[in-house]
């Protein structure tokens, strides 16, 4: 969907220090070569299927459908992937690519820890070193994932600069990459950053919508009417949307984290409250003040607690192909509990944002309509935080 190389409308580009330019050019060349290499694709497919457990199920949520008494609801079960989220799709692709490029070390940022865990896992599997940058605040609210990364042999570096959350972890990973490029690949976790990352990550995540399409055609004999996914940087949403972009009958709905509400400062809803800017290597929408200072955003969900959004989403918004709605902490927590109690599926608090919007939308739609919700990850990691949100103090 790119027009000019690395651009999505006005968005995208390569706004990075000169020190990194040859590294991203080298990555672009390697990716162009391997993406059409049958041997590479065969190896990647084998890893995705045999190791990560793909294809993931498209599950008909019958009880939820009955209770909401509107559109038929299907859940794309990315939570069932190895490591517990969609992040593994991208990481296996990038790690394999990095290995082909002769890199021996992976660095990554992580918010909720899902991308960090996936990267640590891939590094272990492929025999690579791994360093993960994680905001200090996130290491505290996602302590279990920190332990998992360490158990997998990764070094976890708590980032104390700025707001000590995802954006600062990205900044620190970028700084580290400028420091050590020769043997190191920056395994970026979302459809963001400088070209070619938004394209690479989207392509590796596009397996989600490829499978949804096949599965829904098999089950229902037609395309869905809406695909709903949560959006931070936007990798699971981009993966779930991508193969439907050309199907204009399919509504694509991204759910941003509104935090305590889009009329408060404690929000991370970029499309709803941000404006056009340049940050973390890309032009896109960012939460920022009138002088371009990046805003200290907030969401209960560490994975959506990011002040920007991937450039292809920004473009899908501009051309009106996708809609971006805001979902508050409270709505997401309710949906987290609702899906657990209704279907026996505990979604990640990130994915619960998408569930929350589906709960509003489904009753407004006819019973012959179909909604697919991308359950991007599982919620085990969030149980302690949600318990605390409900005033119950449990130990992890």
């Amino acid at each position: 969907m790119e027009q000019k190389e690395g651009r999505f409308g006005v968005h995208g580009g390569q706004y990075i220090p000169e020190t990194l330019m040859n590294a991203v050019i080298e990555l672009d060349k390697a990716y162009s070569r391997y993406k059409n290499d049958p041997e590479f694709q065969r190896e990647l497919t084998a890893l995705l299927n045999e190791y990560a457990g793909r294809p993931s199920r498209l599950y008909y949520a019958e009880k939820m459908t009955e209770k909401l008494s509107g559109a038929k609801i299907y859940l794309k079960r990315e939570d069932l992937n190895h490591t517990g989220s969609h992040k593994i799709n991208n990481v296996l692709g990038q790690a394999l690519l990095a290995k082909k490029m002769g890199k021996t070390r992976l660095i990554a940022e992580t918010g909720a820890g899902q991308h960090g865990v996936a990267t640590a896992t891939a590094a272990t599997l492929l025999g690579m070193e791994c360093v993960v940058f994680m905001g200090k605040e996130d290491t505290e609210r996602q302590a279990l994932n920190v332990y998992r990364m360490k158990l997998l042999g990764a070094e976890v570096i708590p980032v104390t600069t700025g707001t000590a959350t995802l954006k600062d972890a990205v900044s620190e990973a970028m700084r580290e990459w400028t420091n050590r490029i020769d043997d190191t690949h920056y395994c970026l976790g979302s459809v963001m950053g400088p070209h070619p990352f938004p394209t690479i990550v989207r392509d590796f995540q596009a397996v989600i919508s490829r499978e949804i399409k096949e599965q829904i055609l098999e089950k229902e004999g037609r395309l869905p009417d809406a695909v709903i996914a949560c959006v931070g940087g936007g990798s699971n949403a981009m993966g779930a949307f991508y193969n439907f972009i050309g199907d204009s009958s399919v509504r694509l709905i991204g759910c941003e984290a509104a935090g305590r509400g889009i009329d408060t400062f404690e929000t991370a809803a970029t499309i709803n409250t941000g404006k056009l800017g340049i940050f973390h290597g890309m032009k896109s929408y960012f939460c920022q003040d009138e002088y371009g200072q990046i805003a200290p955003v907030y969401s209960i969900s560490a994975g959506l607690d990011y002040p920007g959004i991937g450039p292809e989403h920004a473009w899908l918004h501009d051309i009106g192909r996708a809609e971006y709605v805001a979902v508050t902490d409270e709505e997401a927590v309710n949906a987290f509990e609702y899906l657990s109690k209704t279907e026996g599926i505990i979604p990640a608090i990130e994915s619960a944002h998408a569930v929350a919007y589906a709960m509003k939308l489904a009753p407004q739609m006819d019973k012959d309509k179909i909604i697919v919700i991308n359950i991007s990850g599982r919620g085990d990691k969030d149980c302690a935080a949600i318990a605390r949100y409900r005033g119950e103090n449990i130990y992890e």
Partner: protein, 258 residues
Amino acid sequence: MSKIKNAFQNGKAFIPFVTCGDPNLETTEQLIRAMEKSGADLIELGIPFSDPTAEGPVIQGANLRALSGGVTTDRIFEMVRRLRRDVKIPLVFMTYANVVFSYGTERFAQKAAEVGMDGIILPDVPFEEKEEFAPVFRKYGMDFISLIAPTSSDRVTKIAAEAEGFVYCVSSLGVTGVRKDITTDIGAMVKLVREANPEIPCAIGFGISTPEQAKKMAQHADGVIVGSAIVRQIGELGEEAEKAVSGYVSEMKAAITI
């Protein structure tokens, strides 16, 4: 061509950097005057950014202090206007793309030129993206200063060929900050620049803090840029930093004057 070339006509140029508004704009203004008197040939004025991805901990800290103190781009423009009543040496801004873009690139360039700035350095705008910015600044008589890095290799020639003002040669991998050793072959880097563009001065920055390092670097280039070593002094001494910073600038200028 702006008056940046004047900075390189007084022997090797000494180019200090300060973050505007650290700890407040009155101190910055005083420091800029003091540095000119102590022999600075050109001064880089950092406009603070919330998330300076090319900076090490020292300048990150200065950005944070400045922003917490309430400094804004408009207040920095007003400071430059006051400085230009007497400060004669070339001044360039160093900031991040979003600070310029969000202000409106045209509006920013016009205002910067009007208050008396001579150039701009945007470390997150490489060669591939510079056409969005460089022509706008050129229109208002300001130079868009390009950086080359130890990893630039085959890119040096095209960057140097289109360079304006001076070429900022990044001495080392990584972010800004004081370094004990600089291992990059600076001589070879500068030679490539000169082959592509014999007219353009080269200044070396990143990691330089001691007079010995400055002297060594100056043998290969036309100027030496020092940021973190000065910002660290300001971080420690705050409003009382003038004497220490003046002394340091004189010492560094003397070290590179052969």
